[in-house]
């Protein structure tokens, strides 16, 4: 059954959109990532104009994260205080990101820079997570059970001022690192059209030292507000939010996210991390191949947007 999308102005199969939404939704619920870094390229692939894909994806992430965060609230795995601090950074970052985005657009190389951003970030984070989780699994096998939770890089974080107690996470750290994490994720989400969970989750685990169980719910909490802000920015400046597309993606996505949360709760943290790392590396490899291999069509058509 084909459906005509009023803003994207293309006709696509409704079941394809539902399926894509569902698939990405499962991953979103499992890992606490918004799924934007997968969905946005998938939407390009099925022929949605990039500008519409990015803006609509922000809207869809709000919905899939909302149902995900509700599930986490019930299991009390959301650190609201930490979420609020991250959010302050995130909103500032998103506003900054839009300024940066428009500047890159005026240079005419925004596509390339967005793709390069993807490759670099996905590659570094995927690689780090993969090595780290492999080591963790090896340690737990050797120790034959509970490994000592060794946290790294806590020296300089503890030396910073403005300390705050985050009871749910069991942390007493300065607010500066979470603010900076929120800020950089906000910038990236505005430039790359993603929720930023794939950056934030590792940053929270490795940089802030938060327990993995709390990380997923808290990042979803922050993502909701940042992507809602991004959606409004796109809807009012570029008119590229397609609500019909968003609804189809989120109907699949919301159901998928529920299954994902259940699956995620039953898996070990190390297994979750290694799966996420592999997924990130696969997407990175695909994008890198696009940049390195000769494309079949050297020319591309663009509209005269933003003039």
């Amino acid at each position: 059954m084909h459906i005509y999308l009023p803003i994207a102005e293309v006709s696509v199969n409704a079941f394809l959109l539902l399926g894509l939404g569902g698939l990405v939704g499962v991953l979103s619920g499992m890992f606490g990532v918004g799924g934007g870094f997968l969905m946005t390229p998938l939407l390009f692939f099925i022929g949605i104009p990039p500008a519409v894909a990015v803006a609509t994806e922000a809207n869809q992430i709000v919905a899939s994260s909302f149902s995900g965060v509700l599930a986490h609230f019930r299991r009390r795995t959301v650190d609201l205080k930490m979420g609020a601090v991250l959010l302050v950074g995130g909103l500032t970052g998103a506003a900054l990101g839009v300024v940066v985005f428009n500047y890159l657009k005026s240079l005419g190389q925004v596509d390339l820079l967005v793709k390069l951003c993807y490759v670099v970030f996905l590659g570094v984070i995927g690689g780090l997570m993969f090595v780290e989780s492999l080591n963790a699994i090896r340690r737990s096998r050797k120790a034959g059970g509970s490994p000592p939770a060794k946290r790294r890089q806590r020296g300089w974080i503890h030396a910073l001022p403005f300390k705050m107690r985050f009871r749910t996470s069991g942390l007493y750290i300065s607010v500066i690192p979470p603010l900076l994490v929120g800020l950089s994720v906000g910038v990236l989400s505005a430039i790359m059209g993603v929720g930023g969970g794939f950056i934030m989750v590792p940053a929270m685990i490795y940089l802030l030292g938060m327990p993995t169980k709390v990380v997923v719910g808290t990042s979803l909490f922050q993502i909701i507000f940042v992507t809602a802000f991004t959606t409004m920015l796109h809807a009012t400046t570029n008119f590229t939010v397609d609500v019909v597309l968003a609804v189809l993606l989120l109907v699949g996505g919301v159901v998928g996210a529920q299954f994902g949360t259940v699956i995620g709760a039953r898996m070990k943290a190390e297994q979750l991390r290694i799966l996420l790392a592999l997924l990130v590396l696969v997407v990175c490899g695909k994008l890198a191949a696009d940049l390195l291999l000769q494309p079949t069509e050297l020319y591309s058509l663009g509209e005269l947007g933003g003039h």
């Binding site: 059954m1 084909h2 459906i3 005509y4 009023p6 803003i7 102005e9 293309v10 006709s11 022929g47 809207n59 869809q60 709000v62 919905a63 899939s64 994260s65 909302f66 149902s67 509700l70 599930a71 005419g108 190389q109 596509d111 390339l112 809602a228 959606t231 409004m232 796109h234 809807a235 009012t236 008119f239 939010v241 609500v243 019909v244 968003a246 609804v247 989120l250 109907v251 919301v254 159901v255 529920q258 940049l291 390195l292 291999l293 000769q294 494309p295 069509e297 050297l298 020319y299 591309s300 058509l301 663009g302 509209e303 005269l304």
Partner: protein, 254 residues
């Protein structure tokens, strides 16, 4: 009085040079884009009206050209730099139709001569206008060709030879397929009658392509009240997210 009539006849004479004119029919002159719009098919048919017998010589040929609204297009070309493929040169094609279909009653170059094609801009290549190409860019024509190639691959541009049926040099019909990815606007439909490659008559009409119903409401709202539209999109998203979550939980608990 007589002199006046004579003057009138003489004055009108050039118009009478067009001895054969088209009486045109369309199966529909408006296309409504609804939520489940899946392309459209328009039947273009008509008859040739003439005051004199059918002229001897070359048979009558018919060309039907449907053109969507024209817009400027930015064409970019990738080149390999530092090991990766990046957009380097770009050319602004001043005006290219969003949709273009030409149907002819015979092989294109038999039906119309090159000079007549140039004058009426009938073939796809001529329907695209590109004058602003910067001089430093190599082979600017490649960029215009790329527009035609990419849009032809997407089914937006097509030339369909031998698809206009002409009976007894008097009746003709053809059907124009319009893809699902149509943009709104006025689609100009031109019908040319040719003899020996020369255009003997030319008529034009318009097909209106419009979004209707929900599609129309959403589109208008997103343009005229973007803040309301954005908030509504968020509200719908959050409601659906919460609704599905609740439904799922009830389903599992029951």
């Amino acid at each position: 009085m007589l002199r006046f009539l004579l003057a009138l006849v003489l004055f009108a004479l050039p118009a009478f040079a067009e001895e054969e004119t088209v009486v045109l029919g369309l199966s529909q002159d408006r296309v409504a884009i609804t939520a489940n719009f899946d392309g459209s098919n328009i039947l273009v048919f008509g008859a040739i009206k003439r005051e004199t017998p059918i002229p001897p010589g070359e048979p009558l040929q018919v060309i039907v050209a449907v053109s969507g609204p024209s817009e400027p297009v930015m064409v970019r070309r990738k080149e390999k730099k530092f090991g990766i493929w990046v957009n380097t040169d770009s050319v602004l094609v001043d005006s290219a139709p969003s949709f273009y279909a030409v149907a002819t009653s015979g092989p294109f170059h038999d039906v119309i001569s090159d000079t007549e094609d140039l004058r009426y801009r009938i073939s796809i290549e001529r329907a695209i206008r590109s004058v602003g190409a910067a001089m430093h860019i190599r082979s600017a024509q490649d960029f215009a060709d790329a527009v035609v190639r990419i849009r032809t691959d997407n089914g937006l541009y097509s030339i369909r030879e031998n698809t206009v049926a002409v009976d007894e040099q008097t009746l003709f019909r053809t059907s124009i397929d319009m893809p699902a990815d149509l943009t709104e606007g006025e689609y100009s439909t031109r019908i040319f009658l040719t003899r020996g490659g020369q255009v003997v008559s030319f008529t034009e009409t318009t097909i209106h392509v419009r979004k209707v119903g929900l599609e129309r409401i959403l589109y208008t709202m997103s343009r005229q009240q973007p803040i309301v539209y954005g908030l509504m999109s968020l509200a719908i998203a959050i409601a659906a997210g919460w609704g599905a979550s609740t439904a799922f939980r009830l389903l599992r608990n029951s």
